[in-house]
């Protein structure tokens, strides 16, 4: 019998956050996005609040390491990425020894889940080269290799990325579900419940590997535009990559990624276990995300970002994608121009001015309001460094 205690919190953040959007984002006053319904959360009682709980040890701090040699001819360099990750970890923590930097987050007795983003595989997904270096970092503090999981929601996307073959010996590579309707990998006791569009199944359950399989999570998102959320980075990779049945939060042209992404990230034990975020910006998808395979929209940005505050990191990511879109002549992700909407997926993947939804980049600030981090750019300390 499961003796875990559960609490229900009726998360009224949906309504409250919408009001906040009207106050802070001029774009929201220009469209007809319906108000978000209340979202109910069923989660275990947190026995204690860890210092590592999001926004973690370094709220508002983002370390960016760039090196154009990290991606050459669309291939990621193992040796350069190794330098970048070691440097990023040391600069984030102030340690000189990368092993000591890793030990701020991971202990030898931990079971560690590395949450990759395989949804854009093969063209843009968490680089196996970067994931290998993260595995090496985790092992350096004494975690047995069999206690390291590389995981994502869909096994077939992991399969397309060839992660099984490319990971070091002993690492467990696993997908939460084998196909769209497979619910066996989810915890029936931890869920978010809301009725967005009259759908019959109103619950999204947390992956069991998160609720009970691992003790720490290292989040490895990619840097991408997202047709519904505006961008997909730390928050979306973690929230929508942990709960099932999330597609229901979109119905063209509307999306409730704001506030659902932030609310999902706030659910325990996800919030406490996700202790470190390493964003793979070797490639940047500036349009067509998250699934595009169109090389015209994939840019070799040659950077990684390291931090514990997913809101601050996604704020910087959003800034970079906006800058790139502007440079390419594409509309802002904040645009609410109905003329840019299309129902034709083919057009979206080919034309940078077209989109399927009113994007919701404000989901980042909304997550900040939930206490997950800092979205005010003036309060974010961005340290940019070229690889040594």
């Amino acid at each position: 019998m499961d003796r875990r205690a559960f609490v229900k919190r009726s998360c009224l953040g949906g309504v409250a956050l919408l009001l906040d959007q009207l106050g802070t984002s001029p774009a929201y006053s220009q469209d007809l996005i319906p108000p978000a319904p209340p979202i109910h959360v069923n989660e275990p009682e947190a026995p204690s609040v860890s210092a590592l709980r999001m926004p973690g040890l370094y709220p508002g701090r983002v370390v960016e390491i760039s090196d154009e040699r990290s991606i050459v001819a669309n291939r990621v360099s193992q040796s350069i990425v190794r330098q970048m990750i070691e440097q990023g970890m040391c600069e984030l923590t102030g340690e000189k020894d990368p092993r000591l930097a890793w030990s701020k987050f991971i202990q030898p007795q931990d079971t560690v889940g590395i949450k990759i983003n395989s949804s854009g595989a093969p063209a843009c997904c968490s680089s196996p080269e970067l994931v290998r270096e993260i595995v090496a970092g985790v092992r350096s503090v004494g975690v047995p290799v069999r206690n390291i999981y590389v995981y994502d929601r869909y096994a077939y996307e992991i399969d397309i990325g060839s992660y099984q073959a490319l990971m070091p010996l002993g690492v467990r590579v696993t997908g939460v579900q084998e196909h769209k309707l497979d619910a066996s990998g989810y915890d029936p006791d931890v869920f978010c419940e809301a009725n967005f569009f009259g759908e019959w199944d109103t619950r999204s359950y947390m992956a069991s590997i998160v609720s009970s399989g691992v003790s720490k999570i290292i989040n490895v998102p990619t840097m991408k535009d997202h047709s519904a959320a505006g961008v997909t980075g730390c928050l979306k990779n973690l929230g929508y990559g942990t709960f099932n049945n999330v597609d229901r939060s979109h119905r063209r042209p509307f999306s409730f990624t704001d506030p659902l992404i932030g609310i999902m990230c706030s659910v325990e034990p996800l919030r406490s276990k996700a202790v470190l975020h390493i964003m793979d910006g070797t490639r940047m998808v500036w349009h067509g995300g998250p699934l595009t395979q169109n090389p015209d929209f994939i840019f070799p940005a040659g950077l990684i970002m390291v931090g514990t505050d997913p809101v601050a990191m996604d704020t910087i990511e959003l800034e970079k994608i906006e800058a790139k879109r502007s440079k390419e002549g594409a509309p802002s992700v904040w645009s609410r121009d109905p003329a840019s909407l299309t129902n034709n997926g083919g057009a979206y993947f080919q034309i940078a001015s077209k989109n399927l939804f009113y994007r919701q980049p404000h989901h980042i600030a909304a997550a900040g309001k939930l206490g997950l981090g800092i979205s005010d750019r003036k309060q974010i300390e961005l340290q940019t460094t070229r690889s040594a």
Binding site: P122, Y156, A165, E178
Partner: protein, 341 residues
């Protein structure tokens, strides 16, 4: 009696049964059925039974005349492995590391053996020995009759590449980026050749040339004697799709969605055919037609790579079809199994 198709791409030469079948476009589905769980490995055929592995852990034996399930064997874990049939047994690997042999007619278990990690590769049988690689980083050789271990050779990475066995040698790619040749009798490494990234592609053999793709985006032709690189060809993304041999051509897909046909002797491109779909499944050559499952099922004209037809049949498909004179058998990620005629 149907045309037998006992292992990955029909036979140990990975011929895809290319020689005898006169091609014609399928006109209708003889039957359609569903098995429990997604199908990632490829079906195989022996007599009247089509053997379909599923990720729900079942090996399903379907009667090809009726489309009905004759029996199914429940394995302890998911089956990604394409089964292999030899001497009246069906062999396959499981995600818990077991390799199981069952009676091909009754579905009763003959023996099982275990690696230390998952086995997604297909067991390849030659000279009363079954060879298979595991994610535990070892290649295994076991007796076909009993499953008793003959030898085990540890290499430097995870093995998801199904071995090619010929002339007392076992060839395969490895997650450590090397292509290996082992002595089939002892397991000793005869040579290894490095590529620029890990390998999950299964090799094919054309006389004394070993052909294999890597996640470094290159497709390699190696001399089987010493593993020297004869030529390499750059694709747009990594290569998982096992190559098919058709006369002087080698055909494979890359993850960027292009099907490539190269001259085996020179590596020169004969044609390239974009599909718009990520390709991880092996192409199957049948007469003058190439079959490919890549989300959509495609038929290409072998001489020039032109698409003859394409069909969307249910869920995304990544396994290889079984092509016979009577019918084509396809399986999909939603557990759908089709017999087209």
């Amino acid at each position: 009696m149907a045309h037998d198709w006992p292992t990955l791409l029909c036979d140990n030469a990975r011929s895809g049964g290319q020689a005898p079948q006169p091609w014609r476009a399928p006109g209708k589905a003889r039957w359609q059925t569903n098995v429990e769980g997604a199908v990632r490995g490829s079906p195989v055929l022996h007599g009247d039974l089509l053997y379909v592995p599923s990720l729900a852990g079942f090996l399903n034996a379907i009667n090809i005349r009726s489309g009905r399930l004759q029996w199914r064997f429940q394995a302890p874990a998911a089956i990604h492995s394409t089964p292999s049939i030899s001497s009246g047994r069906v062999l396959f690997g499981c995600s818990d590391g077991k390799v199981i042999a069952i009676d091909a007619v009754t579905g009763t278990k003959s023996w099982e053996t275990a690696a230390q990690d998952e086995v997604w590769t297909s067991p390849i049988v030659q000279n009363e020995t079954a060879f298979f690689g595991s994610a535990d980083g070892a290649m295994y050789a076991v007796q076909l009759e009993t499953g008793t271990l003959r030898w085990k050779e540890a290499v430097g990475g995870r093995i998801y590449s199904t071995a090619q066995v010929a002339e007392q040698r076992v060839y395969f790619g490895c997650g450590d980026g090397n292509v290996y040749a082992l002595d089939a009798l002892t397991g000793h490494v005869l040579w290894k050749t490095a590529t620029g990234n890990g390998i999950d592609c299964s090799p094919a053999l054309a006389n004394d040339t070993l052909l294999i793709g890597s996640q470094d985006f290159y497709f390699y032709a190696l001399d089987t004697g010493r593993g020297a690189i004869r030529w390499k060809y750059e694709a747009d993304l990594g290569i998982t799709s096992a190559p098919a041999i058709a006369g002087d051509l080698v055909i494979f897909g890359c993850k960027a969605g292009t099907l490539h046909a190269l001259d085996i002797r020179t590596g020169k491109v004969i044609w390239k055919a974009p599909t718009g779909q990520t390709i991880t499944a092996p192409p199957v050559v049948s007469g003058s037609v190439i079959w490919l499952q890549a989300g959509i099922t495609f038929a290409f004209n072998l001489p020039d790579g032109k698409v003859i037809w394409r069909a969307y049949m249910g869920n995304s498909m990544h396994s290889a079809p079984v092509v016979t004179n009577q019918a084509v058998y396809l399986a999909g990620m939603g557990g759908e199994v089709y017999a087209l005629e």
